[in-house]
């Protein structure tokens, strides 16, 4: 244990005495955070395109189909990528993972509850027959106020907290479509009310629809509040709004901690070339102690770097999440990143090879995982591939903490980062066995 402490202390001392390294570890990420926040503003000016939306339609009626078609319509093609799904549980998991911005869930009775005369319209499409007074009477009574205690929800919007912009866009589209329907419903209600006062009258259903729309639009122009029989539920908990300064502070910290971790791994090869590693290897210590000590030192440096960046970015208003979850996340991510550094050190032949690999992996991983822009805008397959980098897990984890998720809810992501770390260390151990006969 004493030897581990000796090795760790040495690594930290060396890292924090290197002015160049300090600039790279601390100053650069802070400056980039400030620059990104200043450039894009503090709020949600994320680029908006190709927002993945899942549509689960359990209703066979025409109104739910109309909503699905609205999301799939040509004017919205660049804005949203709508995908019809059938498995609700799987769809919710995909939203949880951030693979989709939201799930629009249309219940089986959507059309029926939205407009009870739907079956009559369906019948009217095939044979236009005048409505009888009895039919109109039945329709009129069906438009009564919702029963007390009844579930007012017609549509559920299950949203990803990490895709706040996508959620907002989906909600706006859905609201617009539903509002249009509501206006029509109210128009029908009004016209039916008039017709019901004259049950002897007979009406052509198509004329009835045209009349109801006219009346509905008139109601909208009068800006009278429409009593919502439609309730929109967004399962987004108590989320904080997206802010660039939060996102970039955490993502830049993770990115530059990756540089530290890969450089730390590389320093093992530098020590071999400078002669200090051979000298260590002939000291009365097991090689595994030396390697673990080295990596512990690199990890300690990474933890200190992250903590300093966390507290320093707080001074410019960045929020990473509650203290305990952030500390846990920092530890998990540093362990993961150090594993990647060890992997590179274990398999690179020379310091320059390790430097090239470390920089390449960090930068490409950073780009793929969303260190420079929100990862939600990346294609799904890129998001999946990027989960092989610590950056992705870091961004996913901090995004959730920043949104207000509890530690327990983020535990699967922390486990994912640690699982990736384990994989890194196993591959690294094979490399070390080959290179250093450890």
């Amino acid at each position: 244990m004493n030897k581990l402490w000796t090795l760790t202390r040495k690594e930290v001392l060396l890292a924090f005495r290197d002015r160049g390294a300090l600039i790279s570890m601390l100053l650069t990420p802070l400056l980039l955070t400030v620059a990104i926040a200043a450039a894009f503003g503090g709020g949600g000016d994320q680029p908006i395109s190709n927002i993945p939306v899942l549509l689960l339609n359990r209703d066979e009626g025409p109104l739910a189909a109309f909503i699905v078609e609205a999301f799939e319509s040509e004017p919205l093609q660049d804005l949203v990528v709508a995908e019809r799904v059938t498995d609700e549980a799987e769809a919710r998991v995909r939203v949880d993972r951030g693979e989709a911005a939201a799930l629009v869930l249309l219940p089986a009775d959507f059309s029926e509850r939205m407009l009870p005369l739907t079956p009559l319209f369906a019948a009217a499409d095939s044979q236009i027959e005048p409505l009888t007074p009895e039919q109109m009477e039945a329709i009129w009574h069906s438009f009564g106020a919702p029963e007390a205690g009844a579930d007012p929800t017609l549509v559920e919007l299950y949203a990803s907290p990490t895709r706040r912009i996508g959620t907002a866009v989906t909600q706006a589209i859905l609201s617009q479509v539903l509002d249009g329907m509501q206006v029509t419903v109210r128009g029908v209600q009004a016209s039916m009310s008039q017709l019901a006062q004259d049950p002897a009258a007979q009406a052509d259903p198509m004329q009835l629809v045209a009349l109801s729309q006219t009346l509905g639009e008139g109601l909208l122009e009068q800006a009278q509040p429409i009593e919502a029989r439609i309730q929109l539920t967004i399962d987004d908990g108590d989320f904080r709004p997206f802010r660039w300064v939060d996102y970039s502070a955490a993502s830049m910290a993770v990115l530059f901690m990756m540089f530290t971790a890969t450089a730390g791994g590389r320093s093992l090869l530098q020590e071999r070339e400078s002669g200090t590693l051979p000298r260590l290897l002939i000291s009365p210590n097991r090689p595994t102690v030396l390697l673990v000590g080295k990596m512990t030192g690199v990890a300690a440096t990474g933890v200190l770097q992250m903590v300093i960046l966390w507290r320093a970015s707080g001074l410019i208003g960045a929020y990473w999440g509650p203290t305990l979850p952030v500390v846990v996340a920092i530890l998990a991510l540093v362990v993961c990143a150090t594993g990647l550094g060890a992997l590179i050190a274990g398999w690179a032949r020379t310091t320059s090879q390790a430097a090239a690999l470390g920089t390449g992996v960090t930068l490409v991983g950073g780009a793929l995982s969303g260190s420079f822009f929100p990862r939600n805008n990346l294609p799904t397959w890129v998001q999946s591939v990027s989960l092989l980098t610590p950056n992705s897990w870091g961004i996913e984890i901090f995004a959730r903490f920043q949104s207000g998720y509890e530690l327990s809810a983020v535990a699967p992501y922390l486990a994912g980062a640690l699982g990736l770390a384990l994989a890194y260390y196993i591959v690294a151990a094979l490399g070390f066995r080959r290179q250093f006969s450890v």
């Binding site: 004493n2 030897k3 000796t6 090795l7 040495k10 001392l13 060396l14 005495r17 290197d18 400078s274 002669g275 200090t276 051979p278 000298r279 260590l280 290897l281 002939i282 000291s283 009365p284 210590n285 097991r286 006969s437």
Partner: protein, 315 residues
């Protein structure tokens, strides 16, 4: 009593590669300075690397303090201090921090380590610069610190691999005196060098290595006896002139046993320098070479090496 026993030790870095160390056998006695002398690439460093357990031998066996370097590496490491040829130091730490780090890695702690560090700083003359980072030191100061680290904990056997390479004469003298003091202190020293003068000055016994083989072993007197009554005649040529052709012409001359050329110098092992000198000067003149300096030396390790290999030690 032998503190190191080496039997038929061999090392081949790759299956098809040449033997870096080829069936080397010797013993080092407790309390002596044993030097391995040889040109660069002779196998000295590889031998030390195997004895210090950094490299596994591919043939033979060696024991340090009775422990096998193959199977009891940890026990071997506890009993040795190694001063590598490279400056194995952390340049962004100061001298005291370097000594503390390496001392702790040897398992030293507390006041014993503090005292040892102070003692080593005093010996190296680095007390006044102990708080300065190593990258601000001169080459000689770094060499001294490199040496001091290897001596932390006063190990019974110290291995020094070319400790005086590329340093100023003052630091070199400092180190040589220190090595003698180690012997006086009861420590055993394994010293490698390609400087004949150092081996002659320091060593109780000397092993001469060339191309991975131990080609001679003994005290200085025993080794010199190998060349009998021969004298060494060294002819230094003018600046930029090469002596290969002159050495070739003289090699078959009467009374000349060996001839070699290196860096504008022609070295001859001769029965009588006085007898050979006129012929050598005539040949040089015939080749248009300017003779700048002539030196006649008593038999020494240089002439031993020339005698054994047909090459000067610095070839």
């Amino acid at each position: 009593m032998a503190i190191v026993t080496v039997q038929e030790l061999g090392k081949r870095y790759s299956a098809q590669g040449p033997l870096a160390v080829d069936a080397v056998s010797f013993e080092i006695h407790e309390g002596e300075i044993f030097s391995l002398l040889g040109p660069n690439g002779a196998g000295k460093t590889t031998t030390i690397a195997m004895l210090s357990t950094l490299l596994q031998p591919t043939a033979g066996e060696a024991w340090v303090g009775g422990n096998s370097v193959r199977t009891q590496a940890m026990q071997v490491r506890r009993s040795i201090g190694v001063v590598p040829q490279e400056l194995a130091l952390y340049e962004n730490l100061n001298a005291r921090e370097n000594l503390r780090f390496w001392g702790e890695m040897r398992g030293l702690r507390g006041s014993a380590l503090d005292e040892d560090i102070d003692h080593k700083l005093e010996l190296t003359g680095l007390q006044d610069r102990a708080g300065d980072r190593v990258h601000t030191y001169s080459g000689g100061m770094k060499r001294r610190l490199n040496l001091a680290i290897g001596l932390l904990g006063e190990p019974p056997l110290v291995m020094l691999d070319e400790p005086t390479v590329a340093i100023d004469p003052q630091s070199r003298r400092y180190i040589l005196d220190w090595v003698k003091a180690m012997r006086d202190n009861g420590q055993t020293v394994l010293y490698t060098t390609h400087y004949m003068e150092e081996a002659q000055e320091l060593s109780d016994r000397i092993g001469i290595m060339d191309h991975g083989k131990l080609i001679a072993l003994g005290t200085l007197a025993e080794l010199v006896q190998m060349v009998g009554e021969l004298e060494t005649l060294v002819i230094s040529l003018g600046e930029g002139e090469r002596g290969e052709e002159l050495a070739e012409r003289l090699a078959s001359g009467e009374g000349i046993h060996e001839a070699s050329a290196n860096d504008g110098e022609v070295t001859l092992n001769v029965a009588s320098a006085q007898a050979v000198l006129p012929q050598a000067l005539a040949e040089a003149s015939a080749l248009g070479l300017a003779v700048r300096h002539i030196e006649i030396r008593e038999p020494n390790l240089e002439s031993v090496f020339l005698h054994l290999t047909g090459r000067a030690l610095r070839d």
